[in-house]
Symmetry: C2
Subunit: 196 residues, 2 copies
Amino acid sequence: MARPRQFDEERVIRAVRDQFWDAGYAATSLEDLVRVSGLGKGSLYGAFGDKHRLFLRALREYTDTSGGYLREMLASAPRALDALRAFVMAPVDDPGGAAARRGCLMANSTYELATSDPDVLAEARRTYEATTALVAESVGRAQDEGDLPRDVDPVETARALLAAQQGLVFMGRTGLDIDTLTAAARTLADKLLPDA
Amino acid sequence: MARPRQFDEERVIRAVRDQFWDAGYAATSLEDLVRVSGLGKGSLYGAFGDKHRLFLRALREYTDTSGGYLREMLASAPRALDALRAFVMAPVDDPGGAAARRGCLMANSTYELATSDPDVLAEARRTYEATTALVAESVGRAQDEGDLPRDVDPVETARALLAAQQGLVFMGRTGLDIDTLTAAARTLADKLLPDA
DNA sequence: TGCTTGGTGGACCGTACGGTCAACAATCGC
DNA sequence: GCGATTGTTGACCGTACGGTCCACCAAGCA
């Protein structure tokens, strides 16, 4: 072993992720990445490879973290139905609406790159499948707890809930004010999760 | 007057719009625009201004055309409820799923540019407001026709329907197969428009 | 037909980008 | 302490981009 790294890899990835989140992939220059990371170009390349690989790494960090939060949130809720409601309302869980305007890094990336970048498309599908499975499991739990009717398919319901959530994310990106957005989220949750 | 234009302005705008639609704003180069339009750089600049203004023009063409179709579709339906159902199902109205993967130019642009481009953000809000108003009007009509309960707010319902539709657009962009997407769309329509 | 006016096209320009590299610095085993 | 090894830095490079410009051209008018 020789000279050790002078930076915290996780901290750098989080800083880079935030930059991509705020500005998008194409609109983020290497100079931006150097600035937010505090590293030189050479170090960045030596540690993470080129811009594309660095982006994929940051995206993976985002999906892993988000997936972890979701898993925990769904698992820790006393009643699954409440967790599902919180899942739909997640895009508006932010007083000032700043998070709503920022949106979801995975959705932003899908819209910007999915047509041209197979790696991003694959990550999108992977995340989508994993989220659907997690939500479907909670739908099943809500059925077991008597809060949702037995005759609906958990996976179908999970896909509908995910679509509703992502639709709210989109409306947040258009700059819709947080109160109106919250009302829309409530309407969707009430209709899709009738017994709440 | 001197030498007249040798191209059809509308045709050029549509070609440019399709290019931006397929590749996005940043990923479309001036060379691409020259290729799909058949014009030289000078002509393009002389007729439409720079890349940004040309993009806004193409985006406006898209929103005007889409808005026109929507207005017509909603107005011509014998029962408003059927039209609302068609509105939600629109993202999957495409046998091969190609249109679903392409998504909606306005949504694509919002995700790519709304944070940094005030003009695009304004166009997004304008389109969003107009669509909400059109859909809300049809919700009111469906209430008058006895197909939707009287106690729901038309504008709230319209926003929920729009969110559901845009959520489906997102799922289409992730490459979800058209059959699964159609099933999700049906679930959403059934829940949000109960008496269909 | 020659003059004027606006359209056309592509050569050309400055710049900012992603990426490379070589010189230097810091740590470890010996 | 010294060499080996790896990390760090920023100057540097080639390229592709958006945008400009100018020489040429076609139509209308006298």
